[in-house]
Subunit: 142 residues, 2 copies
DNA sequence: CTGCATCCAGAACGATACTG
DNA sequence: CAGTATCGTTCTGGATGCAG
């Protein structure tokens, strides 16, 4: 039923309601570590505080803790204490959080095509031919 | 080659490169007015400074001007002086900017489903049945 | 009509250190 | 191990007024 690979359409920013929604969503995803944390949690696996911390590794305790609190408040992640002795907390995505994959994926995709490294140079590279799986490239970094 | 409407997948936040891209994209879309302006430009054609200003109407001159400059710097919008007497400037999307539709649309979609006014209530709306025009609902706001 | 200059309050980010 | 407390710096959003 899907018309095209990229139907997109009624983005209609003319409505105030639409504008507000965009602002609200941007407010959630506009924080430096939120998208990264969410992406991390989307991968599945067990995700404890320290696991997240080392996986992201450029984030400080405060930032991680702060971000997780905010995300939890927003109802995007769920917090669950797993162990008592060495305190362990497991973070998982709520449904709303999981649904954000539909936004994070395009974000990443766009980033890969348009600013992967800062070598822009006004190239009008209309390379729209990269639609298929070629994207999973994941160059082994660092 | 999954040709599904929503393939989504390698969000793999485990890679630093991926994390950085997400951060960079979030940095662009994370500004209050950027998404709104972009959405506005995605709509129709003629978009001058004042047109944008009245279409968005909760934005001040400074914010609009500031945002437009940033977006222009980022290579997302193009600035073109149209008239000299009553100075008129026309803003249009560059290709990169236009491609952001692929991100803005999901953002709006997610917003509508998960925080449109706060009336969520856990609808497991995995109901991809809303794929068609149903979305254009655009409740007459204001 | 555009949009820059100033001034400001508040939020985001980050490093470090400390508690449960 | 998880998370909080502080402190300080930078950025952002916004009002207002002036200039090209």
């Amino acid at each position: 039923m899907s018309t095209e690979p990229i139907p997109i359409s009624r983005l209609d920013g003319t409505h105030k309601r639409t504008q507000r929604l965009l602002i609200e969503v941007a407010d959630v995803l506009g924080h430096k570590w939120h998208p990264v944390i969410l992406a991390q949690l989307l991968n599945g696996e067990p995700h404890t505080f320290s696991e997240l911390g080392s996986a992201i590794d450029d984030v400080s305790n405060k930032m991680l803790s702060d971000s997780l609190s905010t995300l939890q408040d927003a109802g995007l992640v769920d917090r669950e204490v797993v162990s008592e002795k060495p305190v362990r907390v497991r973070y998982t995505l709520t449904e709303r959080g999981h649904d954000l994959e539909a936004v994070l994926d395009p974000m990443l995709r766009w980033g890969r095509e348009h600013l992967a490294g800062e070598a822009i140079a006004r190239s009008d590279a209309r390379t729209s031919l990269r639609r298929s799986g070629a994207i999973g490239g994941e160059v082994a970094d660092e």
